[in-house]
């Protein structure tokens, strides 16, 4: 192992820069050469990279986004795109490649691994936390905290007006952010794609609380559950409660990473370099049961990470 590459792919997540920094500095300590590919898979396809040295990553630990930039690459989904990326790796004698991203990026990495001898290691970084093989991804903790701070602000208006708020959080088709935020803000109801819900039950629950005198309330909904604007209207029509929707949106992706996201980034990077130095590839690093470990790349790609449904139940108990 003499030369490694690193790229950030897919959606950006707070802590990606901390991971790039840690990969670079640890690798340099081990006398590895580090190439930073730009704009995600596009940089591998077009051979766009910069040589990363310890000072190249100065002053980025605490910043959001990614200095290597990212993109959603359509070309990389084609056989031709993947071949070009494999050629780039071969032409630059890249022995190991660290892919920082989420599920989609790891599927790309899996496809690429079949066309190259370069050892590929995935570092899970996505606010969605939907990567199998790790309890937590880089950026998840930050996104949750950002959402919680936002909901705490909305609570002021909610209480002042005795309103019901349907607050839509990110997470695509999964409910990890919604379940954690819901528990942390004391949401009356948490709606996640993993649990089918009956709108009539939602109306009933709100009406019961109003009958007991609790006139304001928070519903935290994952974006994957469907049309929240319509849901808010139906709640207002069916319960009489003044109901508003709020979409937290892109603020959840950005901002300075939390201490925990930075820490995870450093520990994952450390593990990734350790694996590469042991000539191991096709692995995804992760935090499992409190330990930094790794699992097979294909297993991570092909397995759906289960949502802890207990969290959703506990949120419900805690607002009674």
């Amino acid at each position: 192992m003499r030369t490694i590459g690193v790229a950030t792919c897919g959606g950006d997540a707070p802590g990606m820069n901390a991971a790039i920094r840690a990969i670079t500095r640890i690798a340099c300590t081990k006398n590895l050469k580090v190439l930073g590919f730009e704009n995600g898979w596009n940089g591998l396809i077009t051979n766009a990279f910069r040589h990363l040295l310890p000072h190249s990553v100065m002053g980025i630990l605490h910043t959001g986004g990614t200095i290597l930039r990212t993109s959603r690459s359509l070309e990389f989904r084609t056989e031709e795109g993947i071949k070009k990326a494999a050629e780039t790796l071969a032409n630059n004698n890249v022995d190991g490649l660290v892919v920082i991203g989420g599920n989609g990026s790891f599927n790309g990495a899996l496809a690429l691994s079949k066309e190259t001898d370069t050892k590929i290691i995935g570092i899970p970084a996505t606010i969605d936390n939907d990567v199998f093989g790790t309890n937590e991804t880089i950026g998840f903790d930050t996104a949750v905290d950002t959402a919680v701070v936002a909901v705490d602000k909305i609570r002021d208006t909610m209480v002042s007006f005795k309103r019901v708020f349907v607050i839509e959080v990110m997470g695509r088709e999964r409910g990890f952010i919604a379940a954690t935020v819901g528990l942390a803000v004391g949401a009356e109801i948490v709606l996640v794609p993993e649990i089918q819900f009956d709108k009539n039950q939602v109306f009933k629950s709100i009406k019961e609380k109003r009958a007991k005198g609790k006139r304001s309330g928070i519903i935290v909904a994952a974006e994957g559950i469907g049309d929240c604007q319509k849901l808010a209207q139906e709640i207002e029509e069916n319960t009489g409660a003044e109901t508003r929707r709020s979409v937290l949106g892109y603020i959840q992706r950005g901002g300075n990473p939390s201490a925990r996201s930075r820490l995870l980034a450093s520990l994952f990077a450390n593990k990734a370099i350790e694996l590469l130095l042991n000539e191991q590839g096709n692995r995804v690093v992760g935090l499992q049961d409190g330990t930094i470990t790794s699992i097979d790349l294909e297993t991570s790609c092909k397995t759906e990470k289960p949502l802890e449904l207990d969290l959703v139940n506990l949120a419900s108990i805690l607002t009674r």
Copy 2:
């Protein structure tokens, strides 16, 4: 002047609690009795109030929302509603009434003033900053800072992806929040309802910047300018720039007030009590040219506050 009432009306704004606290404590120092009417005008219509003492307002200075709650009262827009409110004031021997709110609330106060002998003083508190007679309203500074922090977060994703973002801020039909936020975040383009804009100029400006290599950019748009989702789509179609919309929404109304919003609340409250002790009514307090002063209630209601167009021009110069 022996008994005063206080109510928060219309939309909530950070710093309303600071104003309630200051009114109560200053009034008590002057041996006035303070009645806190609940749920805005509704409390005046239904005679719902609590007696406020210095300790009633302990621990609220730094909180968002309003402990007296607020509402948008339809009944108060009727002659009958206003008469009921006037009766409530008479029945409780309320000599002075402090109305904490925005334009709509002051129009209500003006209507009420014609049916009562109670001296009415308006304290401008709205995130929209659209009250004539004051350079700044309570809550405006906080809302602007909240929006700026949110845009700073979105900037991370924007730069990582080289995207254009259309960010919709509050302000109803006025552009005060948009103009100030736009300048503070370095927006490439600021769109406010007060200035007609030509979509083709927007497209042209974005294309010119892209031609020069600046591929990401922020457009801050007041909610009053129309459909931002459509605008984002048209920008993408006409410029080729990947464009996203983000609506900051209700987070702008909440949260702990900034030091400045708290200070303004205390100073406005101090002025309001001073006016009442001088038996003056039908006034709106304000900050004019650095001085705490007051103007006639009717003048405030009937005059449109001009937007400083210089700010919008300066924002444009600063992104060249």
Copy 3:
């Protein structure tokens, strides 16, 4: 199990209120009566408590401090004090007692357990993270994040002036906060009481970095390592680097709890009630290897929790 008590003891930590809320609401769901003892052990000594119902804990989830207040009780360290507390438990038929606090509080709980039949469960809540039997205590994550945000601010001045900063964080005689903050902020040097350090090595390291052109730097020091003011002076004298000390102080104890601290509080409370319903006592709940579990109270009190020295080493590698 029909009646339980709950008290917050020792130093306050963000998330204590989330724990009180969860204990109360979960217990009420199980038809338990909940007594909230006030001012820590003092409330048990003086029989000062309030009956807690679900609505008593409304609106506290996101707040710092503790609504039950706390104190450092000298009387409770006497045999007499402990006997009084045992009598209070007996007189009120308290079957189970939940003690929310840190090491010192659990030592108190252990002493009390020898004088009472009430089942006692400890919930670890301290910013210091120094409780054996749990990887993380309630409040630790929040304190670390607060410290990290503060250091990020100081970094601006440090870089502008090319200064070295010795930043003293909390943690009493332990280095958990310092090690985690140091890694998260990219500290050049992390000083913890668990690792002896040689001042000359510190000077040498700073001089080497200056020779390479890196003129500013952060040293994160646990308060337990000794006099940081003197250290800063000695660094300046021995290296020529302009050096300043900053003590972060009490801000680390307060503020709204992070999502993670709130979550941990809810999960720990859930486990505590489960143990009590199973008639188990003398246990401390905790997070071990990703699982909510519990250990024997006496073992927790008598065992020193080890610091992960790897974190300190990794911090050092990452700044090379």
Copy 4:
């Protein structure tokens, strides 16, 4: 006016970068050449500068510190140092020089102005707000907000323990930060260097509040009033109140500038360029009575800015 220089001198303040950006971009729009001198006066003495173009100041608007760095220059206090700076200006044909800093920097600018034909304009940027000729300096609003957020956190511990806290804020020999923070946090007592205070009065006030049942309290003290640690001890000895001191320290200088500090920076920069284009020098720009204006440099240096004592009185009334 063809070439201008810009330098940040003295202590750093949030918003300095916003000012550098605005100076550069506005000047370039007017076809001026901009030289950014580095490390404050030292850059003028040693002829260290970089040519600033619009893209040189990209991405800095929202950051704390100063990209031009700063220093406290001893050499500039000598006649020789000032002559060297004047030579640097002459050698580079600098027609106008913008000095961004506080009182000390403007005294330096005044001395320099006597040795050069270059027109000098001061932009007031210091967290201390102690520049005569402007109601507010760049950075003051940010520092106050940072201090207020910190005190809000300390309040949690204070209330939980029923303690008195003496909180020392920055401001050197002046009380602007202390007075504003004190009012914004609801401090029981505000101590500023401008008002002599009697310790016995402080003890008496605290004892009276305790007699009325208010056992916790905040004293906000300017660093210029003397030894706060000793004061805290004396309060504890004389009143029986558990009392702690907290020094907020360097966090007040750093962090992202508030919207208001950024806005002020842009407006001040705009005025500075306008003055230079009119061939005016020896001026300090400022905000006076709501208007951006300027005053004579020597007048600004030689006049002490008065503290609004009303704020301190109002703070006292508001905690009764």
